[in-house]
Subunit: 221 residues, 2 copies
Amino acid sequence: MATLKRISVQKTRLADEIYEQLLIAIGAGDIAPNERLVQERLANELQVSRTPVREALLRLEQEGVLETSGRSGFVIRQISNAEVREIYQARIAIEGFAARLVTERNDKAVYEQLRNLVLQQESIKRVDISAYFEANRTIHRAIVEKANNRFLLEQFDSIWNRSNSFRMFAKIDDVDLDKSLGDHIPLIDAMASGNGHDAFEAMRDHIEGGLTLQMDAILNS
Amino acid sequence: MATLKRISVQKTRLADEIYEQLLIAIGAGDIAPNERLVQERLANELQVSRTPVREALLRLEQEGVLETSGRSGFVIRQISNAEVREIYQARIAIEGFAARLVTERNDKAVYEQLRNLVLQQESIKRVDISAYFEANRTIHRAIVEKANNRFLLEQFDSIWNRSNSFRMFAKIDDVDLDKSLGDHIPLIDAMASGNGHDAFEAMRDHIEGGLTLQMDAILNS
DNA sequence: TTCAGGAATACTGTATACAGTATACAACGT
DNA sequence: ACGTTGTATACTGTATACAGTATTCCTGAA
């Protein structure tokens, strides 16, 4: 008998779907910063019981997206300015080293794929902040993916999920975001130059540029 | 009226305690690699209900320590050789950059504190692998702590928890572990020399030395 | 002995029930 | 109006109940 493919079993837990939905809702700003996420209310809205809702909320709490507000439910965790700086710094550690690893692979095909992706993402219509955010995330994630290290990728996702919930770019002017998004080709070029250290420093400069924009926007708002 | 201290509220969830216990038990090797962790059995042993046990297991699954084994409970997730390499590589990203940050702070007092800690940890009686592991973890964690970045520290913990559950050093000879533990003072010296890049590379060399020991041990066993 | 088939079971995932405590509210006195 | 006290409520955390499916075990035929 021919070996048959296992039919997709969708061994999916409700908790996972709820987790995803909440993350998206938070990123889209559909949940107000002070809104209380109450298990029973969410369960009613989603037409499930409290159990999977609770599991999703606990996971988001664990990941630093939500925090428990005593006996009044969960709330989106607010990030201080100091934490914003630390997030960008941690990104340098991960994405900078990923850029170095990619460079040390020295595979021309990889650079071409990255360049194509950047061009494609830069050309999308950016109607809102979320679109900017996703384009940026897609580009940076692709670089980390090319480093072939699932732990670096995991940590990338972990840190970006938090930025997502903070709606990191919400305060930056469109014109600056546009400029920042256009900064990616030089980054790939630096990687393609072949020196791992230069690649790291290029990523570092790029991310620090983003941090500067972010902090200026916060201070001017 | 005198201001009274808030009595310790211990707003602790059972799930958190169970999580800690399981992590310790796994690290100590008290749970066999193929042992099935069944919710109801654990609940009976711990004299609690399935709910907090399940929450702890789900968290450990999420963190990559356990994996679900279909309808036969949870099992310790085995790590492939490729993943071992990736773990060490991710450590270079995080701990290397942390070393650079510490060096760029250029605070003499910090180096002294680190040196004292290293001397203290190197002198402990090492009765078993776990003691080695913890001494090593303590030293490296202290360095990351000095970088003053809670996200780097979080990622450090995340990755070391996995190593712990993998019983990372279990196969390495005592004599090699001894030598490796003695390698930390030169590392601090390199940081104290004041150049951030050198600090990064020193940490990189140090961690890659550990990787070599690890891989040799695996291949010879 | 080995394999197929089917019943029993073991375990998960989800729903519901219960207990306890912080929070909100209302009533009262000042 | 304002604060204080008692009471109701809302919400969490934990326990238990239920449903469904993979896994195991047993039986019997080849």
